[in-house]
């Protein structure tokens, strides 16, 4: 792939990228969220077409306009989110999308072929099983078999280990080795340094849509790679007034939590957040961030461990309890969780306080009070709208986040949990949000700021924790933060106790 450029509205996802894979190698693509790894591979697989640049397969220039073209060129991709029909069998899923199939399927023959294939590559799976009965690891094997059945020489795996248990990952790596022996090549997208070093021959590091470099794994170290991944950044810190050390607002002790799929998402997380402190949680998304924020705010059940608010054990309390303890939560999903779209702005501004006076008296809603509250917050937080009775879905992204912040921060919270609060916002709105959080810090709130934007974490936090694979890899004061060290922790290659 030569000089690939791809622009999405507002971002340059691939900026003159050169990338090559050789026969018989496992080539890792390493980078943070949004570095452009998946975009690049989606271009190779024909899901996106590049704005400019050329692609060569076996030395021949090709044009790939759709996955169909890619499959024709013997390229196969396993996406991060599997694309399988749950109610169909393994065999049916593998045949799905194939052309030149007879009208009456000879499933028996296909099943046999799949069985042979799965034996040959040591990918055990029953062709007659229905997808919904399978574990995530088995589903991944089905996706890989699908590619092999179609005959692929280039395999692209997008973050394949994110859904696997450690044992399944080990088996996958064994399989990848086998592929390279056969002369096939594998592109392995990941952000985990351990895996890069363990499985791949060479690695290409992407940052901000650009190639930082391509190196052989034998000629590099984890810390070099981490430095390449996070880069040497020009950090500008915000003006922060020193605040006298205070007692902890929040203590988390040995927290264990499961994710939606029932797999461990947090594996013994402990930390404390003090009043007047911004506690930044860095890490690549999907390493337990969502589960952490949900357990503190009462939205998720805890398997074991303790959550202590101002010295009181509040483990297992409901969302309503956390609201009553004055814990603000800025959720990740603004549209479906933070501010439901068909409520009016006034209604949304009392989403978490409607049941308390002055907004309710007994069972009766006090519409006058709700209206007055809305008018005040709209002007205090500069929410741009025609009226308080406008539907929330008319608001722009930045204004939507302002609405959520107005509601969550207006009640003088003692603890604020903010999950990706600036994601998708433009520069102006981002600055505004960070400014508000800093103001809350000065007013004495403890703030847990979870973000995948390392610059943001480093510039506004007092202390920084790095979350990797459900564990805290280390907690460092922001002034003493070594960005390469943080990079290593984000990749799971360094753990400080």
């Amino acid at each position: 792939m030569e000089q690939i450029v791809k622009r999405f509205p507002g971002v340059l996802a691939a900026d003159h990228v050169d990338f090559e894979v050789q026969k018989g190698e496992v080539h890792s693509l390493l980078g943070e969220n949004g570095a452009g790894k998946t975009t690049l591979m989606n271009i190779l697989y024909g899901i996106h077409t590049p704005d400019s640049g050329k692609i060569y397969i076996n030395g021949k220039s090709v044009s790939i306009r759709s996955p169909k073209d890619a499959i024709g060129l013997r390229i196969g991709m396993v996406h991060q989110n599997f694309k399988l029909v749950e109610s169909h069998t393994v065999c049916e899923n593998i045949l799905l999308g194939l052309r030149n199939l007879p009208v009456v399927l000879k499933l028996k023959n296909a099943e046999k072929a799949i069985e042979e294939l799965s034996k040959r590559y040591d990918l055990p799976v029953d062709p007659r099983a229905k997808i919904w009965q399978l574990s995530m690891g088995e589903r991944q094997r089905v996706e890989i078999l699908k590619i092999l059945y179609r005959g692929a020489d280039i395999l692209i795996l997008d973050e394949p280990t994110s859904v696997l248990t450690p044992l399944e990952s080990k088996n996958l790596f064994g399989f990848l080795r086998k592929m390279t022996v056969e002369g096939k090549c594998v592109v392995f997208i990941t952000h985990k340094l351990e895996e890069v070093m363990g499985v791949s021959d060479r690695v290409t590091v992407l940052r901000g849509g650009r190639v930082v470099g391509t190196v052989a794994t034998t000629a590099t170290t984890k810390s070099d790679l981490a430095a390449m991944m996070v880069g040497r950044r020009i950090l500008f810190t915000y003006e922060r007034r020193e605040i006298a050390a205070a007692s902890p607002v929040l203590e988390v002790r040995d927290l264990h939590v499961l994710n939606d799929k029932g797999l461990p998402a947090l594996k013994g997380v402990s930390f404390a957040v003090h009043a007047g402190e911004i506690f930044g949680v860095a890490g690549v998304a999907g390493n337990g961030q969502k589960e952490l924020s949900e357990s503190i705010t009462g939205l998720r059940d805890i398997s074991s461990g303790q959550i202590i608010i101002e010295g009181k054990d509040t483990t297992g309390e409901s969302v309503r309890d956390t609201i009553e303890h004055n814990i603000a939560y800025i959720p990740e999903d603004r549209i479906k969780t933070g501010a439901p779209q068909n409520l009016t702005i006034a209604e949304n501004l009392v989403l978490r306080s409607y049941r308390y006076p002055p907004f309710s008296k007994g069972l009766l809603l006090q519409k006058d009070e709700i209206g007055r509250n809305a008018e005040k917050l709209i002007s205090d937080f500069n929410i741009v709208t025609t009226s308080k009775d406008t539907l929330t879905r008319t608001l722009s992204g930045g204004n939507l986040q302002k609405l959520i912040l107005a509601r969550e921060l207006s009640g003088k919270p003692k603890l604020i949990v903010a999950l990706y609060p600036t994601r998708g916002l433009d520069v102006g709105a981002t600055e505004y949000v960070r400014g508000l959080l800093l103001k809350q810090r000065e007013m004495g709130a403890g703030i847990v700021l979870i973000s995948e934007d390392l610059d943001e974490i480093v510039s506004v936090s007092d202390r920084i924790a790095v979350l990797y694979d459900g564990q805290v890899m280390g907690i460092v004061p922001a002034e003493a933060a070594n960005i390469e060290e943080i990079g290593l922790m984000m990749g799971g290659a360094l753990k400080k106790s």
Binding site: K336, T337, P340, L343, L351
Partner: protein, 358 residues
Amino acid sequence: MSDELALPSLRFERRLVPSRKLNTAVSIFSVVIGLGSTIPIFLLAGVDPLAAFQQVFGVFTTTQGVTESVTRAIPLILTAVGLCLPFKMGFWNIGAEGQLFMGAFATTLIVLMFPAAPSIVIFPLMIVAAFLSGGIWGMIPAFLKSKLEVNEVLTTLMMNFVAILWVDFLVYGPWRDPQGHGFPLTPMFPEQARLPMIPGTKVHSGLLIAIASAALIYFLISFTRWGYEIKVLGESLDAARYAGIHSLILTLVVMFLSGGFSGLAGMTLVSGIVLRLRHGISPGYGYSAIIIAWLGRLNPIGAFVAALLFGGLLVSGDALQIGLGLAFSTVQVFQGLILLFVVGADVLTHYKIRVRLR
């Protein structure tokens, strides 16, 4: 000649704020167009369309027509206003019919148990029993949905058949009137267990129950924090959880009320009109109520009005059959066309249609 067809292209644009004036205009317009569309049907059936329209007009202008329409509307009002609650919450209760049958069953049970009780005792008992049994019938799918994620469309729909067949079992079996010449019905209710007429009219007092129910639900939805919770849960389960709303309890309560009001509809049927329990007590009021609730935009007042018009439409059908000797199937086509236009026109109130010539 150009071989390119100059077909206009239609584009739908969502209106941000549907206006009330427009709603009224569109409703009237759609009824007129709907009536117009039935002209060929009448002509095909060999009936003068003007005579047919006269029959229909008569239903809405004569005392007798209005009386009958209102009477027909009573169970429709009760079921439809009850459905406004779960529908607003995004819970698709298709089970009003079954909940109505359970209410009719419970009412009859009370009458059979206390045949000699005076009105002042038996009416409160009937109301409570009908509401309770319809409500509990409605809570079962709510529980299954909240706890086990069982699709409520299936459970509410299937439980209709259970309830209908349960009533059939009773009227064909243990409750059959020995003096009923073998017909599947219970003995007539005693005089004191029949809903009296509203003084000065020929409409039974179930209408008062219907009006009170509509008013109560309107109040709940518009003025209590409970209505607010229903709205939030209807928007998204995640948002409801975030707001600290206990979705299981809310769903159970809402379905208890929804089923309860359908149960009351069953009570008004057996003790206001049929005066006994029999096979096929409702010709599908619980299903029609689904359309009515939506026509009323899930607003109990709107549903109330829509139910009255629907009652009129049903009586118009009877009038066409009796007055002009039209076949029942022709009448159904007539009713279907009117409904189709009214429901279809709803799009116009929410979307602007832009016509562009290519």
